[in-house]
Structure formats: structure tokens, C-alpha cells
Symmetry: C2
DNA sequence: TTAATGGTATACATATCTGTGTACTTTAGA
DNA sequence: TCTAAAGTACACAGATATGTATACCATTAA
């Protein structure tokens, strides 16, 4: 077995291409070409493009949340500060050159039916992010951690949209100020 | 000239299909079939699918903002109340059976480059909505109408995402409570 | 050595995509 | 009523989509 399996190569390239160019706009041929694998290999690992999309979204969820947690916890140590550091972490994300919005919001746009498996993975991702924010709120001693998590999450979602659609790289700064209001109310 | 021009028929059907199924996933053949026009007619009115997408987004902007303004002003008369009524208006939208998120957020997902004309119309739409909220904030006598508009807008964007990705039909209620905090701070 | 595994390359089947071309028909206004 | 514009129907071109089939190659383990 090589260090990086063919499967990982495929998912990794699909991740980049789907994120930058969209799901329907990215063909299988492009993915195998840039991943450097044959079409047969791709269809050995995934029964269909849809299955690859699903695997890609799951991988993105894993990578994104790990990174969000790592960054947030690197930027601040005290639990109260970490709720605020969350906004700095997403701010750094907005300023990455490859930033192209939230892949799950994007996927939800293309797979719009709420019963679509791809759409459902997106909803699951959002729930997991909110769960993480809730855990931070608990550690910070919020009166109602779930409520605070819902509020902060909603602000962050708004900031993501603002950053992507309008290209406002400072969306996280405003979001942070707004988040501070609710954090102060909740502690 | 008929009451409804062929052009309007085409845009109207494209609006529905693009909104429900996405832009790349909706083919020209489907549009002309459901609009009941020939392909030649479509290409007489629009030089390309991209041009139709652009016209469709412009139409949607017009319809959406007109409706938002009408609803908001119908639901409340006093300027201060109208800032809050905004959230009721979007709440009603979330609960429409055909609700499929914000068409401009969806379009931004598929046309991700910020220099893409379709993407630019989305950014323009968002600016115009914010302008409207700002005008409400001015009428309500907010200290900093632009700041308040930015805040309320960000909350609404978050609610739209929450409503669409996770199917949370009550997103507008939470958003309204959050908006109230900033309205009270700003008046 | 041999057989299985997993890979490549490539042609192919089938469908659908956008966009054009042709020939006929409808419609509306002078 | 005649003419011009606008429409329909439909074939078609060329590109691209997903997915399959065939033939061959490299590695590895029995």
C-alpha cells in the first residue's frame, strides 16, 4: 500500500474541484485527470459520482471541524475567550485565497431536496458544528448553552454568506462584535 | 402582443426551475418544454443560457425585494415595528412550500468566481436588500442606520441558511429575538 | 512460476448538453 | 388582403456527461 491510497487521492482532488467549481459543473473526467487515476479505479472505489460526492462531503466535514476546533483552541485558552476566538478562526478562513464559501451551503444549493442524501450530510455537518459551539458555551458557563450556541451559529452563518456572496472579508469582525453581545448576555 | 410575452413566459419558467433544481442541473430543453416555447424563440430572446440566467436573477431580485417591502410594510406601520416585521416577512417566506433557500446564495454557490456576472448580480441584490433595511433603520431613528442594517441583515442571512440547510422553519423566530437586541441598542 | 490483485489506457455506449439550421405556420399591422 | 415578423417543429452538430468493457501491465504472495 502506498502512503496515500488511490481512494484518498481521488477524494482529495474531488474536494478541491467540487469546492472551487461546484458539483454539477465538475465532471468525472476532470477529477480522474487531476487525481492521476484511471476511470476504472474511480469506479472501483465509488459506485457512482453521487457516492463520490457523499464521500467528499464527509471528508470535508471531518477536515473542516477538526481545523475549526484546532484553530479555536489554539487562539484562546480560557473557555469564555474561546467563544470569541471562534470568530477569529472563521475570519482566518474567509481570508484564505481558496475561500469559496461554506461547502455545505453550496452543496445544499445544488442538492436542494431535504431528502437528498447529500443535502442530509450538510444538515448533519451544521448540527455538529453547533454541537461544538454548544460545548464551548457549556465550558464557558453559559446559562443556556444551547440557546447561545444557536445564536452564535446563526451569526456565523450570516457572516459566511456575507463573506462569500459579497466578498466582504471583514464579515467576521462584525460577527464577532455581534457575538460578544450575546455572550455577555448569556454568562 | 399577448398579455404575457414569450420572453416573460420563458423567464418565469426558468425562475421556477432554476430555483427548485439549480442552474447547472436545469437544461434548456426542460425550460422550453415547460414554458411551451420553441428553442428558436428562446435563443431569439437570449443569446445564451448564461444570458437567461442573468435575466432570471434580475427578475428574481425585482420580485423578491418588491415582495419583501410589500409584506414588511403590510405587517407593521410604525417604522420601529417595521424593523421587526422584516423578520416576520422572511418567516412567512421560509414557510412557503416552494421555499428552497435564497436564490442568490444558491447562485453564488454555482457561479463561485467573484468576477462572474451572475455572481455579481447576487452581490448587488444583497446590497439592495441591505439598503432597504437601512432605510427602515433611518425611518426608525437609529443612531447608526448603516450599522444596524448590517447587523440585522447578517442575522437574516444566517436564518436563511438555517432554514434551508437544516429545514428549521422557526429560524425566523430566533432571528427576530436576536434582531430585537440590536434594535433596542440602536434606538 | 503462477495466479490474483489492482492499476493504466482507451475505446465505447448512451444520454444529455448548448446552440444552429431549415422549412413551415401563425399572427398582427399597414 | 398582403407582407413581415415571430413563432413552431424538428433535425442536427459538436461537446460533454456518466458509466462500462476490453486489453494490457506491474506487483506481490502462494
Amino acid at each position: 500500500m502506498p502512503a496515500v491510497s488511490k481512494r484518498e487521492q481521488i477524494v482529495s482532488q474531488a474536494l478541491t474541484l467540487f469546492y472551487q467549481n461546484g458539483f454539477n459543473a465538475t465532471g468525472i473526467d476532470r477529477i480522474i485527470k487531476e487525481a492521476g487515476v484511471s476511470k476504472k479505479t474511480l469506479y472501483n472505489h465509488f459506485r457512482s459520482k453521487d457516492e463520490l460526492v457523499l464521500a467528499t462531503l464527509r471528508k470535508r466535514d471531518e477536515l473542516f471541524r477538526n481545523n475549526l476546533m484546532r484553530e479555536t483552541e489554539r487562539l484562546a485558552l480560557a473557555p469564555q475567550d474561546r467563544l470569541l476566538a471562534l470568530f477569529d478562526a472563521v475570519g482566518n478562513w474567509f481570508n484564505e485565497v481558496s475561500f469559496s464559501g461554506c461547502m455545505f451551503i453550496n452543496a445544499s444549493a445544488e442538492f436542494s431536496g431535504s431528502d437528498n442524501p447529500n443535502h442530509m450530510v450538510c444538515a448533519e455537518h451544521k448540527r455538529l458544528v453547533r454541537d461544538y459551539i454548544k460545548s464551548l458555551a457549556e465550558q464557558a458557563g453559559a446559562k443556556d448553552p444551547e440557546e447561545l450556541a444557536n445564536q452564535l451559529n446563526m451569526i456565523i452563518e450570516g457572516a459566511i454568506v456575507n463573506a462569500h456572496v459579497e466578498g466582504n472579508k471583514d464579515a467576521a469582525k462584525r460577527a464577532k462584535k455581534m457575538g460578544e453581545v450575546f455572550i455577555n448576555l448569556a454568562l
